[in-house]
Amino acid sequence: MRIFVCIKQVPDSAQIRVHPVTNTIMRQGVPTIINPYDLFGLEEALRLRDRFGGEVTVMTMGPPMASDSLRKALTYGADRAVLLTDRFFAGSDTLATSYALANLIQKASENWGQPDIVFCGKQTIDGDTAQVGPGIARRLGLTQLTYVSSIDEIDPSHGTITVRRRADHGVQVLQSRLPAMITMMEGSNEIRRGRIEDALRAASAEVVQWNAAAAGITDLGHCGLRGSPTVVKKVFAPPSREEKATLVGEGAANPAAVANDLITQIFARQPVLEGDLMHAAARH
């Protein structure tokens, strides 16, 4: 099977700090990681390759340093890595990003053959939009299978696939056709520990690097800020509330007294709630 996996290098957001005065993100020194949601797709891709043979190509659009994440993906066992990088892509929103990535996938297909599956992350931890995968699927005419919790059956030779997909009130079992764009649910698998051989190979492997022209992108009007229909007009810190919590139970003799004070305060502020809770309790 031929599988492409789109990943994104993101700041480890647990460590992001916002400058208190300028409200800008202080990125300096913040380590980057592969978007955690992408790893479920990568692992699924590696498993399919291990089962059916073939190759896994990881790809990303990003600044030159995004090659770190691609190399990391190679240590897990991906066979090839491609980076699309160009200043024309700066400021891309999700529509412009899916344009660039769709072109990247097309170019990669010309070089190495059409993929059976393109895996994307369900969403990213920094943007959190869940829009890029569907955008790519749409542009390339791939079957769109999002929120997949497991691939039950797959027959590459007949191009058929059966998946379980997490819906709002249950699980859809879907039968469909390849090629498909798939996003995996978190927890559907666990990224492997790479083998020593892969780590060694990754250290010296070449990350294929293309700029817009090399990826065959000629219409720069669809790229970056210019190709983005959305415009960020304002960035600001969440407003802080004026009044702070009223502290209850200070100086109370024991926990029971604190609890009673608190309950009195709660029902003083939510008088209707008390009656409703009583009705509910009576019904139990």
Partner: protein, 366 residues
């Protein structure tokens, strides 16, 4: 090069600033649309919440509010359309077709884009649910228009443009996003972020039936089974009147039961902060916050939770927030209404007992 991270605000005269002029062919786009999520015979509450929000936008713009309903059975859709009217829709577009019986991306995308091209709405809102997220990205890409995900606030600015505000960078910042020269302006909103409006059953409206041209044989993906969640015990979290949640301050997995006990006495539901999910103390569908559930209960009790911004954004819509924390400087006291500085493992059982006897006493008295 972030797909969605904030870019620098557009300065006047910058390239982005020049996008202001709405191209001629979009000037006829009018009215506010809400995609009505209709599955298993029911309207998803987020769609009703969006009708409430859409109503405000439509009034501000002095245009109509429309619901868009897709499904397999015409009669069920007509019933659902009536509900949309009572929640504020002036018009409901109804597309009934056997192919639309179960949600599938392909036919839904096709019908939604056809409807937009035919009836030209200026704004389209969808719930940021599994279904809404699956659909919104495809529709926006097909229409080549802007889509802002997970908005927490929607407004109309002086130039009649939709100002869509969303958290970014894990909630540490908010940004306001506009789609200046494309239509429709699309946005998704997560469930429970907007309040559920009160229905007015005397309200009526129009229904516009749309004959979708679809052939089952053209649709690649088939739904071969649907395994409904067994009325999953947690499914009510987002809609519970009372929610009790624990954080790392609980100190051990065993103490989760203290949270459950209190929730039980209050007839509410329970959850926790993200680290508890990561530690495996609670299942992931019980996580409350930006990457978990957004809740809007009348009473929220947070025990041993510091109140990080990612948690805060998921609970801020609660009517009354009560925090129990040993640290008087914990950030949660900045947005809680009532606070107790103290040990949650001691106070939770005390509260459970006190509530139990109070509700029981009143029951006898009443």
């Amino acid at each position: 090069m972030n797909s969605s991270a904030p870019r620098p605000p557009a300065a006047a005269g910058s390239r982005a600033g020049m996008k202001k002029e709405l191209p001629e062919h979009f000037r006829s786009y009018k009215h506010v649309w809400v995609f009505i999520e209709f599955e298993q015979g029911e309207i998803h509450p987020v769609s009703l919440e969006l009708l409430g929000e859409g109503r405000k936008l439509a009034d501000r713009l002095q245009v109509e509010l429309a619901g868009v309903l897709l499904g397999g059975c015409g009669a069920a859709l007509t019933g659902a359309a009536g509900i949309c009217h009572s929640y504020g829709a002036d018009v409901v577009y109804v597309a009934a077709h056997p192919v639309l019986a179960d949600y599938r991306n392909e036919p839904y995308t096709r019908v939604m884009t056809d409807l937009v091209r035919k009836f030209e709405p200026e704004i389209m809102l969808l719930g940021a649910t599994v279904l809404g997220r699956d659909l919104a990205g495809s529709v926006a890409t097909t229409l080549q228009t802007g889509l802002t995900a997970d908005c927490t606030e929607l407004a109309i600015d002086d130039e009649r443009s939709l100002a869509a505000t969303r958290p970014t960078f894990g909630g540490s910042l908010l940004c306001t996003i506009h789609t200046l020269n494309f239509r429709p302006q699309m946005a998704t909103v997560r469930p429970r972020v907007m309040p559920l409006p009160a229905p007015d059953t005397s309200r009526t409206g129009r229904i516009i039936e749309y004959q979708a041209e679809l052939e089952e044989s053209d649709i690649v993906t088939k739904v071969i089974d649907f395994l409904a969640d067994r009325n999953s015990e947690s499914s009510q979290l987002a809609f519970a009147d009372v929610v009790v949640a624990g954080g790392l301050g609980l100190r051990s997995a065993e103490n989760i039961s203290l949270v459950q006990d209190l929730a039980h006495v209050l007839g509410g539901d329970w959850g926790g902060s993200r680290p508890l999910v990561q530690k495996g103390w609670i299942p992931s569908d019980r996580q409350i916050g930006q990457t978990g559930k957004t809740i809007r209960p009348r009473l929220y009790i947070a025990a041993g939770i510091s109140g990080a911004i990612q948690h805060r954004v998921g609970v801020e819509g609660s009517d009354l927030i009560v925090a129990i924390n040993t640290d008087p400087n914990a950030p949660i006291f900045e947005f809680a209404h009532l606070g107790v500085v103290g040990d949650a493992t001691v106070l939770l059982p005390a509260l459970t007992e006190a509530f139990r006897s109070r509700l029981a006493v009143n029951r006898l008295a009443g």
